[in-house]
Symmetry: C3
């Protein structure tokens, strides 16, 4: 499938929008095309080789190796537009948009079939991307060298941040290897935040990782300035439940303040605030053993 | 205790209703009598003997054996009105109703004492059904061959879906064996859904089960048609936290959309929607290891 | 630092309050001084030596030993004002108050550095109390014999109940040993409850404990009378997720009734009700294995 035949698909989409009933006005809708490939990469969970909190060092044989991740490409998967990293590319849209994710399996290393399964957005069964023996179609089982386009719609009930991940036959292995990413969907007229931080919590190679990395010096350092409107997009993937905590800040959940929030596998949420608190603040999972296994980073706010 | 002396109990109930203050008008209240027995049954967690996702097969010695479950009976426990299954019977009521659950312990196999403990509803201490050494009464420790009637009230704060389960001296063993079920309580004038799906998540014999069954082909296939108002009653029991996910659908929680929701032991919730999305959708626990251990099923929506 | 120089600090505070923007009128604010020390204590998780539910007995070698806890003192740490216990002292305040927590490390047994890190309240980076190698200051790494004053503000988004805990270099060990407590912050004009129950859920020495104690006969017995307005301040600390349940009661969460609520490490919440239900009610973690490992207590309501 190519991205060319917009006229026919556009007409079909208007019918779909009317049928769904929960989407913003189709007149305002944009179509966003995203090219993504599954690519093999050598990934190191602890590039520094050490945990500065305890001084423990880890050999590369334990922290690094081949895995498969989602990587952003130019149209037609000609050139990569970003590094091959964990999590995969942040896919942005607004309520009312349709999103065409053109996925190609370039896994020449393990040669597993892969797919993309998206949370939070609307789609027909053919774009579900989940392997069901005897039932699912080609989008659920994309073989090496093959491609598939997932047709998604951002409905009014799609605003927020959501995971996507492999749901093909090898998903158990590939999710543990980092085949996940996030969708970030703004409301139709919502002002974009000044800073948006993606926090994907998962285990990998026995470590507890944030965006595929463990321990201070490896996990992301998020940065903002006083006055910035910041937003955190938080998800978990895998087997574990986490409690996300940012030091020196609080936020409201349904009107009730909190500064810790639990997030289980495939759950996701956003929290936002206007920054007022300069400092070098920890953000971390508050499960003590997860924090000790690397799930901690720094959020630096300058005046 | 019999179900005959309604006059005296009715007067007592009006006093109780006035005292509670949170119940719907007693004038509208019905009394629902339910006969339930604890019965031994041979239960197979994997009747098909195989996981079609991986092709793994399991011997009957691993998947099947004797257990005790709650079974629905006719008045006076004369004849069973339904099969002996996991979970136990769905007990339905409306806000304002009183519910008399007449329980008999027919466990002739293990000969353990059992009880029923109900979440979400109002009751006096005598109907708590929880064994407390030196304190609790006969309803907490019903011996084989004995019976007890639990007197429950559905208050305004009882609307929703709730677990019930054994809370007798052997509860640790009997909950692992499937002695749990659900209450479904509608508001006074709430329209009943077209389809109501009960999803009880628990571990059993080392498998992760939905309604006592593991793997596609064994777990429930829920069915609806486009246009149906569907409702899911979800609970967990045992030691594990789960993340309930339905493919291709979203729902609002306090106005915030989600398609995954965590549920820990004895937590429960309902989610509802008007069906619009035909397909063969997975529903599953999104904890990867739980899904791989069987906690996955199909939800089939026809046009 | 002493508590004397209120004038200068008072002026600084008014500036800070104006800058924060989310605090109640500074005119109404009080300053609360609290003296706390980290002290070694011999602590027994199972003083009775037995679990009355199963009859299992436990030797003192398994249940008791030295640990370090937070203890409340008179001004200047001259005399203890309360026993050395788990959790540490409940620190009470109202929205708009500033709270000066004067902490001294009197750990003469293990001689570890310790700190206090507070959830829910406002503070500058210097009062964060979290050890960050190469970044944090003296409040994050208070050596034996040393002291530090944490300067906190109760903002409008601080109402509720929150954990505090050690976040020094030895936090992993000291949190497992009981170095945690709670803040209870009322809104500016909120009426205080008649009864306030602190429930800190954590594991210790292989047991699942409530306030550092395991099994009926050791865990707290909370008491109220019909008509009392009761409030439960619930937190978890450590590695485990729990589901807090009180028998015979329900409460609303965002308008939805529940009688079980999950709480992960460093999460906290309050639930409140006007008492109407006399009885000897279990409260417990509903994770079955946690309840069997001691995480269960009694709540006795008299007419």
């Amino acid at each position: 499938m190519t991205a060319g035949a917009l006229g026919r698909r556009g007409r079909r989409m208007i019918v779909a929008l009317a049928a769904l009933g929960t989407l913003a006005s189709p007149a305002a809708a944009a179509t966003r095309n995203v090219w993504v490939a599954a690519v093999p990469v050598q990934w190191d969970v602890v590039p520094s080789g050490t945990d500065p909190m305890t001084g423990t060092t880890y050999p590369k044989s334990q922290t690094a190796g081949w895995t498969v991740v989602y990587r952003l490409y130019d149209r037609g998967w000609r050139h990569p537009r970003a590094g091959a990293a964990i999590p995969g590319p942040l896919i942005r849209a607004r309520v009312g948009d349709r999103i065409l994710v053109h996925f190609k399996n370039l896994d020449t290393h393990f040669r597993n079939a892969h797919s993309m399964h998206f949370h939070g957005v609307h789609y027909a069964f053919a774009s579900d991307g989940s392997y069901i023996p005897g039932i699912s179609g080609p989008g659920a089982d994309v073989r090496p060298g093959q491609a598939f386009t997932y047709r998604l719609l951002a409905g009014r009930d799609s605003a927020g941040a959501w995971p996507y991940h492999d749901h093909g036959p090898a998903m158990d292995e590939s999710i543990a290897g980092g085949m996940y990413g996030m969708l970030s969907i703004l409301r139709r007229k919502e002002r974009a935040p000044d800073r948006e931080f993606v926090v994907a919590l998962s285990s990998m190679r026995g470590f507890m990782t944030i965006n595929g990395r463990a321990f201070l010096g490896n996990t992301p350092v998020f940065r903002s300035r006083v006055g910035d409107r910041v937003r955190w997009d938080v998800m978990a993937m895998g087997d574990d439940f986490h409690t996300f905590h940012v030091h020196g800040h609080r936020w409201l959940r349904d009107g009730v303040p909190e500064d810790v929030r639990s997030v289980g596998p495939a759950e996701s949420f956003t929290v936002s605030w206007r920054e007022r608190s300069p400092g070098a603040w920890y953000y971390h999972c508050h499960v003590e053993s997860h924090m000790m296994a690397g799930m901690i980073g720094l959020y630096v706010v300058r005046r």
